[in-house]
């Protein structure tokens, strides 16, 4: 595989897996555009990365992933300011707490916008350019939650499933043009999004980022992070519906 040298974009870079990926990309020697909502935090995190590396590698771009129309012009601006982009990581995600008897359209809409439509907006912007250039890499961080619809978070499951299917279609469309699309399905990872949840055996966000970039290097189509989740989800996917509906998982 040819060594990558272009600019990277990480959408959802102010915490958790996105921030850990951004750090590791910067460590690889790349220019990294960090995108997230909170400007003050984002700038401080980018400054900390530059400080540790002793050179400017992290470039903060305040952006709300739910602002779908902003993706295309911001992509163009980043390329103009930092040079051609050859790698996109879409890691933005929201998972609000939802009660079992709660059906709240505002929460649901936000999840669809950030988890699915945001990925589509940034995926399209990248795909258009990468297709023309016959190269590039798109990594989308989906979730093990996309494999089944569960009682706890229906729209989180649905939005991640939508994102996952979009990424698969993008992969099938683009592979013949030399563009790589990798779908990541993380299991339990210790991030601010999962803070307070009883996740036994959760891995560090940095450990997840290391595995994600390894999956990218191996040109994997779909990678469970860590790998044991492939087996767990194989089992869960094959539980018959009449049993699954009686479970609390």
């Amino acid at each position: 595989m040819a060594p990558r040298s272009g600019t990277c974009i990480v959408v959802g870079a102010s915490s958790g897996i996105g921030l850990a990926i951004a750090r590791r990309l910067a460590l690889e020697g790349r220019k990294v555009a960090l995108l997230a909502r909170r400007e003050g935090e984002l700038r401080a995190m980018a400054a900390a990365i530059d400080d540790a590396l002793g050179r400017q590698a992290a470039f903060p771009y305040p952006h709300d992933a739910a602002d779908l129309d902003a993706a295309e012009p911001l992509f163009a601006r980043i390329e103009q300011e930092l040079g051609p982009v050859d790698e996109l990581h879409y890691v933005a995600g929201v998972m609000p707490a939802v009660a079992l008897d709660e059906f709240d359209l505002a929460k649901d809409r936000l999840q669809v916008q950030v988890n699915m439509l945001g990925c589509i907006a940034w995926g399209n912007a990248a795909a258009r350019r990468f297709l023309a250039r016959k190269g590039g890499c798109i990594v989308g961080v989906s979730s093990v939650a996309q494999d089944r619809g569960r009682i706890g978070r229906p729209v989180y499951n649905a939005s991640k499933a939508g994102m996952d299917t979009y990424l698969e279609a993008l992969r099938n469309r683009l592979w013949r043009h030399g563009v790589q699309v990798t779908t990541i399905r993380p299991g339990f990872v210790e991030t601010p999004m999962t803070a307070g949840l009883p996740l036994r055996g959760a891995i560090a966000a940095d450990a997840a980022a290391e595995r994600i970039l390894r999956a990218r290097d191996r040109r994997r189509a779909i990678a469970y992070v860590p790998g044991k989740w492939r087996l767990i989800l194989f089992a869960i996917r094959n539980i018959p519906s009449f049993v699954f509906r009686r479970l609390s998982i």
Partner: protein
Amino acid sequence: MTTSDGLAWRDEDVRGFGMAIGGPARVLRPTDAEQIAAAFAAVRAQGGSIALRGAGCSYGDAATSKGGHVVDLSAMNRILDFDPATGTATVEPGVTVRDLWRRSIAYGFWPRVVSGTMAVTMGGAAAMNIHGKNNYALGSFGECVESFELLTPRGDLVHCTRESDPELFHAAISGFGMLGCFTRLTVRTKRVHSGRLRVWGIVARDLAHNLQLLEDLRGKADYLVSWLDLHGTGVALGRGLMHRADQLQPGEDPPGVCWFDPAMQDVPTTLLGVVPKGWLWPGMWTAVHLRQVALVNWLKFQAGHREERQSPYLQSHGAFHFLLDYVPRWQWMTRPGGLIQFQPFVPFQHGERVLRTLIERCQAAGQVPYLGVLKRHRPDPFLMTHAVDGYSLAMDFAVGAGRRRREALWRLCQELADVVLDAGGRFYYAKDAVLLQSSFARVHGDEAVARFRAQKAKWDPDRLLQTDLSRRLGV
């Protein structure tokens, strides 16, 4: 359980970290300042007293009150504000050292002063004015506090800075919870340029070598701490393993950027990735009760030579600082008697003589501490400070189950305290269990004690705030 005063007091056994001291108390865990004020008013009306408690990390009786009321602040644990540009945090008193660095490390900030465990709360850290392995360089915890809000026993909320009321500022910090309850604190953190430190293990042949290393390195190193094998005798008396750690400069450790992930700073919870460390204490208990502590210390000292050969190495801030968190519930190895810690602070000029005397007396009495930790200190401006321009030697004693053995240990420590006080030394109340009422003025001097008592009379004239410690010392 809600009682007649409308507050949810619970009857619990409240002990110091060492488990050797404490007893039944009525405990309240407030979630806001109003509840603390209500507890103050209710207990004052009954003519009772209240002890303030954070995470309960004080080894002795600083946060216990046998038969009294205890207000446990661990549920007031919100970080109210964190400025990612400056690293300044405004926190509730129950926020722990761990909570703070988990918030700050992604921005390249680390608490300026941390203890050997990350469980300590900010309120407790300020009340006891804790120190870390960099006390000789950056001073005590109080020196990184910019301001605080103190709820006084009369129910007033006082906002205090160094400038607004210097006397209260310097007495409440270090005042072991005697003047009021911190309800919020603003603390500074420091910039770090990597998630790791450069660490050296240095074998120290004896006490003099240990002290010489501290003097040689304290102008250069960011952190210094020495583990001592107190079973060493003769030419090996006071031998140990010094750890020096230096912060890294920008660009010096690029891979260290990955350690800005908070989860990378936690100490590992398993041994060799498999054995849960929570299972280790029974093995340690066996070593203590089969009297194999000397052997364990000797093995650790010998392992130090290997570490010295492999130095320097890179280690996360968390792994370097929080040695006490490596083995959960390690203090259970001293069950059923528990443990006490005795940590004298000895002025520089008397350091070697006094520390040698202390170690020799322990050995002669057959009560050798299973752990000794030597650090370098400098004075600080707080009224009830323990710091001196000199050294401290923390000595952990397992308390035997029998009454006679326990009394002999207390007598020994009181004799040792006399040696220290005669040399102008001091003590640290987070670690103390044995000082007598007559020692209080000797530790701080008559003037400081008079000033502290004046502050106590001003803010807590009803003497609502009391602990087993304050009663023991006759504060």
